[in-house]
Amino acid sequence: MSTGVITRTARGFTSVLAQALISEHSAHQRGVLQALDPRVKVVGLLSLVLATALSRHIAVVAVLLALAVALALVSRLSLWSMAKRVWLVAFLFTFTIAVPALFLTPGEPLLQLPGVPAITAQGTRSAAMLLLRVESAVTLSTLLVLTTPWMHLLKALRALMVPVEAIMMLAMTHRYAVLLTETANAMFESRQSRMVGRLEGREQRRLMINSGGVLLSKTLEMGNQVFLAMQARGFRGEIRLLDEFHMRGRDYFALGALLAAAALAVAAGR
């Protein structure tokens, strides 16, 4: 395809936008996590992420990952979608970083490939630990985002004393990301509609870099305009929702269970 990179990029942006919408959809489904107070999810799931980072035993981290998968299932999230959107991306990214550890960590040789140092058992364990930690932490964080409407999440963070400036940055970043994808899609389609023939790789790269610059300045300007539109309707940094948060019995139970699981994981993982 003559405009392969451009076409794939434009489709990628569209896909990101569609996924953002799916997140809002999944946050309104009837599931276990969706039914909880957002503050409970923020505290509970982030404490599990912390436990994942602190744990030194691979089995404990694996159990935390299994717990995250179980929570995804009872929250009616699609595991196939999680695999494509979260696990595969996290795996590829982390594996790239973990590869040198396979060869460079000193220890008992496990596999000798021609022309490179031997893969060691210790190196394999280190790489596996890193992979499991990342997968587990990313899955737990994704559960929070997928089961909580974005504005509820911001309000929960604000209730937990996150500064208003940080909340405003998050609110604007979210809107900015959506604007970026919309504008990028329109720009790439417009460009493609005026192109004939095949572009060389160098020319494609030049096109992409130029478009990236224009896109950033365009969306920055639009982001500023959106902020003005929010101010014009009374926005002063505080997130206000129609539904106020109320802690019920199940919220206290869930908070206790999640915190207990995190504490247990930290203790067992020492």
């Binding site: 504005m151 539109a229 309707r233 009374g234 206000r240």
Partner: protein, 274 residues
């Protein structure tokens, strides 16, 4: 037509100046707006209409000169006073030209509820007002839809609803009928007429001369950031030299059947026989 009043003006601008990145957008503009007036701000692109509306909505501050709302100077200091700022936002609403900028919530319902929520209205009052406003624009069936997926006309209507839900005393509209098909344009004008009902102040920036008589009782022409004319819509429309100098009309050539001719008032309805 300009009406003289002894009372406090809704807005009063004196020698107002505003620069955008070193480029002057308003250059010594003076204007008095009385309560209940329906004003059209006319001018070509870049004449300063949108800038003036944004200054009136206290989103930007004047570089020089003064702008007052009901006697209170509008500026950064005034808007830092929370009670003044909330009262001002409740009383003055701005509908942006580009609805995509104004619609930033996940659903139409959230969009319309956004303003009342920011002003801290009680939950029941918000629910009542949002439902009533959605019914008024005929968009109750759209309430769960994502705003960016609506058609152009629907987006404009939701953008207006998101401001009108606060029942402001002053409505500032930036090109409310731009880029709408004729039916949506007509619906929009009817909507604005049904809201105003002669009691509210509306200031509409436009360069569409054909809607002037329907949306305003007074027309103010801007050119290069200054007021160059202030009169009734009929007087403005009859002044071809003024409209041409402000780039609002141009000599226009077109074809009717077999007759080709030209004139400088494309907004005037006319027909040819034969």
């Amino acid at each position: 037509m300009r009406t003289e009043s002894q009372g406090v003006a809704e807005f009063e601008a004196e020698d107002l100046r505003y620069e955008y990145e070193g480029i002057p957008a308003l250059e010594g503009l003076s204007l008095r707006v009385e309560p209940g007036e329906r004003i059209a701000l006319l001018g070509a692109n870049g004449s300063g209409k949108s800038t003036l509306l944004r200054l009136m909505d206290a989103l930007h501050w004047a570089s020089a000169g003064s702008l007052r709302f009901r006697g209170h100077a509008l500026g950064e200091q005034a808007m830092e006073d929370e009670s003044f700022a909330l009262d001002f936002r409740r009383r003055v609403g701005l509908v942006f030209q580009n609805p995509d900028i104004q619609l930033f919530n996940p659903t139409v319902f959230d969009e319309v509820a956004f303003g009342p929520l920011q002003l801290g209205w009680p939950r029941e009052q918000i629910l009542d007002r949002v439902h009533a406003t959605l019914a008024w624009i005929g968009a109750e069936h759209l309430k769960e839809r994502a705003p960016y997926r609506l058609s152009g006309g629907e987006k404009k209507r939701v953008a207006i609803a998101s401001v009108v839900v606060l029942d402001p005393d002053v409505l500032l509209l930036d090109e409310p009928t731009a880029a709408l098909d004729p039916r949506s344009q007509s619906q929009m004008i009817e909507l604005l007429e049904s809201w105003n009902d002669g009691r509210k102040t509306t200031i509409t920036a436009t360069h569409q001369l054909e809607i002037l008589g329907e949306i305003s009782d007074r027309a103010v022409v801007l050119d290069h950031g200054r007021v160059v004319a202030d009169a009734s819509p009929a007087e403005i429309l009859s002044n071809a030299a003024l409209l041409a100098s402000a780039n609002l009309v141009h000599v226009h050539r077109h074809l009717h059947g077999g007759v080709t001719h030209k004139h400088s008032s494309p907004f005037l309805r006319h027909e040819h026989k034969g």
